[in-house]
Assembly symmetry: C2
Homo-oligomer: 137 residues x 2
Amino acid sequence: MKKLSRRTFVGSSVFLSFAGFAGFLPLLNQSKKKQKKMFVHHVYFWLNNPHSAEDKKKLVEGLNTLKSIKEIRMAHIGVPAGTNRDVIDSSYAISWLLLFDNLKDQNIYQEHPVHLKFVKNYSHLWSKVIVYDSVDV
Amino acid sequence: MKKLSRRTFVGSSVFLSFAGFAGFLPLLNQSKKKQKKMFVHHVYFWLNNPHSAEDKKKLVEGLNTLKSIKEIRMAHIGVPAGTNRDVIDSSYAISWLLLFDNLKDQNIYQEHPVHLKFVKNYSHLWSKVIVYDSVDV
């Protein structure tokens, strides 16, 4: 197997296997393989105490508990990147990006005891939540 | 190599290789491997003609041109999933989710001729854009 450059790796079978698994579209136009669909669930949290590092840490702790829910394919906890343009909203405290295989799995996540416990134990921390759910075009 | 179940695949070396590449956190808590950081760039578009299937199709066409920019690690074009709760914003027309290795690569994307051409040729379609950029906690 020849050494894969970063670029060729994008189109490699390893990537495609994973892309099929995660449902991400491959980036190379030449790939005609049908990709598995995906469900993108992106949540942005604003905190009651936006300047409290402790509250932010607590929320991250809570989000980490959710990763045990097996329907989640991928998870990413983020904070604003520090970019600054008119169209950028960087007022939120925490970004919670989840990928699911489909709506059904996302519904299981929503009703999962671990998720319900998270809401019960951590919702006092946030003042606002915006959720964007999206599926393949 | 034994057959991998969906669950074990999440923690497999193939996944970890990819996770290192894409920067996604693995979901299994037992994995202590340090993961590569990532930059999440999520754009939501509202259209001037929100009910125009043609305009939506054009925007998707434009977004697909951006996939040739080599700094992009993963891309997903989405539409609202049809979920409906108080916290869900499903008023946008198109979701454009990109993963980069880092801020530098995202900056290259922003200034890339293909991206500038996209803005020039397709920006008449949208009335509002919100961007959320996030990086690892």
